[in-house]
């Protein structure tokens, strides 16, 4: 039982990182109807900048800010100078450009930093805290949990309680109608990319201390898990991304803890297959026609 409590708490923190990344995929999907296969590589670039900042200044908090700002800039640049020029009458060109971008970003990172994993320390201890003599989560996991929840709440407020959020939702669900109502739809798409990249960058920044270190491919598995989650939850559903992220995080942690790390990918695949068989549109898929 003690072990279960520990795994659940750790899984929750891990799951929220997946949830954040899945949320970032949902934000882009809603804004631009694109599954951004370059999301992990773009976020990794932002985290390399954060790594440089923490190396120079020694401040994790400045690095966190740097990850967010760089994430936004990368999102802006990719949307304005790349994706916007890609034909949009079918989804293939966008995907191909994204995959090409992944290759370019991986190469650039490789040239600048080499193939090694650079260590990035957590701002808080990763040793578990004890309640009585039961190990629960570590201070770092607690930090991850609180920051991820904070971001989720902030995004919910942004999208549901602010004028910008209203415009973002309008442009996402009915771009043509929104244009007629005076919404600057292209600007909303850019903002969607910026928000999404920043959220993804934070997710990867939170992930790195729990991994081997930072490397061009550090976020690849996170992307696979988050993509699975986004499909499970329905690409249009932020709630689905969060619930699915936590579920997959807990599943991975439990399977790793009880059956061994080798079983975790199989468990995720089994879950994906099961959900796609039962609800091909995703668990939280909404039947919302997107007007042209």
């Amino acid at each position: 039982m003690d072990r279960l409590a520990f795994l659940l708490a750790t899984g929750l923190a891990r799951g929220l990182v997946i949830a954040l990344f899945a949320l970032s995929l949902v934000i882009i999907w809603r804004a631009a109807r694109i599954v951004n296969f370059a999301q992990a590589a773009m976020a990794t670039v932002a985290v390399y900048v954060a790594y440089a900042v923490v190396t120079w200044t020694g401040s994790y908090w400045l690095a966190l800010v740097a990850a967010v700002v760089t994430g936004m800039l990368v999102g802006f640049a990719v949307e304005r100078w790349l994706i916007r020029r890609v034909p949009r009458d079918n989804p293939l060109p966008g995907m191909i450009v994204a995959i090409g971008l992944v290759m370019i970003l991986h190469s650039v990172i490789g040239i600048l930093f080499g193939p090694r994993h650079v260590p990035m320390r957590a701002p808080f201890s990763r040793e578990p805290l004890y309640v009585g003599d039961v190990a629960v989560l570590s201070p770092y996991d607690l930090f991850v949990l609180l920051l991820a929840l904070g971001i989720v709440v902030a995004l919910a407020v942004l999208f549901n309680r602010t004028t910008l959020g209203l415009q973002l939702r309008a442009a996402a669900t009915a771009p043509e109608v929104s244009r007629l109502l005076g919404i600057r739809v292209p600007r909303m798409v850019t903002i969607g990319w910026m928000l999404s990249s920043a959220v993804a960058a934070v997710a990867v920044l939170l992930l790195i201390p729990t991994e081997l270190g930072l490397n061009a491919h550090s976020a690849d598995i996170l992307f696979v898990h988050a993509f699975t989650v986004a499909v499970l939850g329905g690409l249009d559903s932020p709630v689905g991304a969060i619930v699915g992220g936590v579920a997959v995080g807990v599943l991975i942690t439990l399977v790793t803890g009880f059956l061994g790390a080798g079983m975790a990918p199989i468990a995720v695949l089994a879950l994906l297959t099961l959900v796609l068989l039962v609800r091909p549109g995703g668990i939280f898929a909404v039947k919302e026609a997107r007007a042209a």
Binding site: L166, L180, G182
Partner: protein, 243 residues
């Protein structure tokens, strides 16, 4: 009419989609506080006129003037010129609440949050939708949703309102209420360009009628004049009667 400059002036408008000439040298005006109906069979080019006025497409030739000035070249210029439009379908944000739908067009205006909400609530009250303000649009029956679409066009206090088949799918009671709303707009100085198939409704609310057929204006006049025009009977009313 107190002013000689028409609210909307369309002159020699020609629009082509590839080889198809959807509008061919179309000219007509809508005066201040005037209600003009644009009628014609399906595919005549009525919605295309709206799209041209709203800068959704680039005409091959011709000019469109609003209050004597060239119409905006981008949709983002419409609200400043006080032009609103409804769509042929509903065109609502189905996942939003009723009041949120009205807040969208207000969001790009230079107003405080309180003012926006106030405007939205007043418009909803005016159209008998106050009790539905917080309801998700998707939960409302069709006639109410149709009214929400009208409310969303009215909430910005347009001086020129383009209504694309506002009576489509409505029963006679709802059409009567709609007619009263449209007539009331003239009293507030709003000009209306109306596309509608429902002949009785058109005859009741329109000051003038412009008849389009295959992208050309085939008749133009008061409802009575147009009703008895043989070209119109051939192009449109005959079709209606036969249908």
């Amino acid at each position: 009419m107190s002013s000689t400059i028409p609210r909307l002036e369309i002159d020699g408008l020609t629009v082509a989609f590839g080889g198809l000439t959807a509008l061919d040298d179309v000219s007509f005006t809508v005066g201040e506080a005037e209600t003009v109906a644009l009628i014609g069979p399906n595919g005549a080019g009525k919605t295309t006129v709206f799209n041209a006025v709203c800068a959704l497409l680039r005409p091959r030739s011709g000019t469109i003037r609003i209050n004597g000035e060239p119409a905006p070249s981008s949709t983002t210029g419409l609200s400043a010129r006080k032009v609103s439009r409804t769509l042929q379908g509903l065109g609502l944000f189905e996942s939003m609440s009723v009041v949120e739908n009205l807040l969208v067009p207000l969001s790009s205006l230079d107003l405080g949050a309180e003012q926006r909400l106030g405007k939205a609530r007043r418009t909803l009250a005016r159209l008998g939708l106050a009790e539905h303000a917080r309801s998700p649009v998707a939960s409302l029956p069709y006639p109410e949703r149709k009214r929400v679409a009208l409310a969303r066009a009215l909430v910005t206090d347009p001086r020129l309102l383009l209504l694309d088949e506002p009576a489509g799918g409505l029963g006679s009671e709802d059409i009567d209420a709609l007619a009263e709303t449209v007539r009331g707009l003239a009293g507030q100085g709003c000009s209306v360009l109306l596309v509608e198939h429902h002949v009785d409704f058109v005859m009741e609310v329109a000051d003038r009628v412009v008849v389009l057929d295959f992208g050309r204006v085939v008749a133009c006049g008061t409802p009575d004049e147009v009703r008895h025009d043989p070209a119109v009977e051939a192009a449109y009313l005959g079709l209606e009667a036969a249908a």
